[in-house]
């Protein structure tokens, strides 16, 4: 057969494959600019009524940690919360909570009612620390390696699939991204 008769079919194939790949992308999830970079410097007080606070020094503990951005006003946070409760119960992972723009009372009541899976919490009342972390939606969950270098960010509700495929390997030091400077 002559090549010119194949061309429209070929064009269609390229277009179909291109658009097909496009359909699998998630344009609402903006890749983090901070992967492979040191976590930003911050020092926050604890959620009201809780001990300690959270600062960037806590992230350089030698072992990977989870940083979960949550708020009492965030509906989806309740959906993923049992998963973090389960992690706190069944693993020895360090889990930190970054409480974003919350009323102090609401935040502490939320943790009392639904349980507190966090080893430490930081109350980001102004939301500025969240902006330094490139957070644009709540919930978001970061994996930070033992040297304080951001390894991974999951946007929106944590699921068991994401936990098993993306989070757990990184908490065990796999899929490590080298840190810039």
């Amino acid at each position: 057969m002559h090549l010119r008769y194949l061309l429209p079919g070929l064009g269609f194939l390229v277009l179909a494959v291109g658009l097909g790949v496009g359909l699998t992308l998630k344009p609402r999830e903006i890749p983090s600019a901070l992967i492979g970079k040191p976590a930003p410097e911050f020092d926050l007080p604890a959620v009201e009524g809780r001990d300690g606070g959270l600062s960037s020094a806590d992230l350089r503990m030698g072992t990977p940690v989870l940083v979960n951005v949550f708020a009492s006003w965030c509906g989806p946070c309740r959906q993923e919360h049992p998963l973090f409760m389960e992690l706190a119960r069944t693993t020895d992972f360090t889990i930190f909570g970054l409480n974003q723009r919350d009323a102090p009372d609401d935040a502490s009541r939320w943790l009392e009612v639904f349980g507190d899976p966090y080893d430490k919490t930081g109350a980001d009342l102004s939301g500025r620390t969240s902006i330094d972390w490139g957070v644009y939606g709540v919930p978001e969950t970061f994996v930070v390696d033992g040297s304080g270098c951001i390894q991974y960010k999951h946007i929106s509700v944590m699921t068991r699939d994401v936990l098993e495929e993306e989070i757990l390997p990184r908490m065990r030091g796999q899929k490590h991204v080298p840190c810039e400077k």
């Binding site: 344009p27 609402r28 903006i30 890749p31 983090s32 600019a33 901070l34 930003p40 723009r101 939301g127 902006i131 330094d132 972390w133 490139g134 644009y136 939606g137």
Partner: protein
């Protein structure tokens, strides 16, 4: 009747006024030159929550906060590029309404020209082929055909 006209007029005015309402100014800077620069920058920074809007057009909380940060950076003496890179460090190139030209955005910038080249190339090929066909169509008659044509015309006359 008059009431209806008035209502229509009110509707028209409210439509005309809409774009003005869409600008969120918050607390402007006291320096008008700086404030003008801030508002210019607000149009270049993408609202990450709404994604197809600049932070100047969005009332999302994050957009409001980024507008404040832009003003803060300008007051601290940053130039426009400093302000943009402050936000790009945190949110990536995504935060800019106009993506910069770099390795990862190269395809975005050159694809239109590649497609244009293909279209122009295709059009040129079409025109050339057409012209060649036409030339073939107008090939002069040889002496034998000339003679036949003359004979046919003679017959008709």
């Amino acid at each position: 009747m008059i009431m209806r006209n008035l209502a229509l007029l009110a509707l028209l005015f409210s439509i005309l006024a809409a774009p003005a309402v869409a600008q969120y100014v918050d607390q402007p800077l006291s320096d008008p030159v700086l404030e003008k620069r801030a508002q210019g920058l607000h149009k270049e920074i993408r609202c990450l929550v709404c994604q197809n809007q600049a932070i100047s057009d969005s009332n999302a909380h994050l957009a409001r906060q980024l507008r404040v940060i832009v003003r803060e950076r300008l007051e601290a003496g940053d130039n426009n590029d400093d302000v943009k890179s402050y936000l790009v460090e945190r949110y990536g190139d995504w935060v800019l309404m106009r993506p910069p030209l770099n390795a990862s955005t190269l395809i975005l910038w050159i694809a239109p020209f590649v497609i244009l080249a293909f279209v122009l190339g295709g059009a040129a090929m079409f025109v050339i082929r057409r012209r060649r066909q036409q030339q073939i169509g107008f090939e002069p008659l040889d002496s034998q055909e000339e003679a036949r044509l003359a004979a046919i015309l003679d017959e008709q006359n």
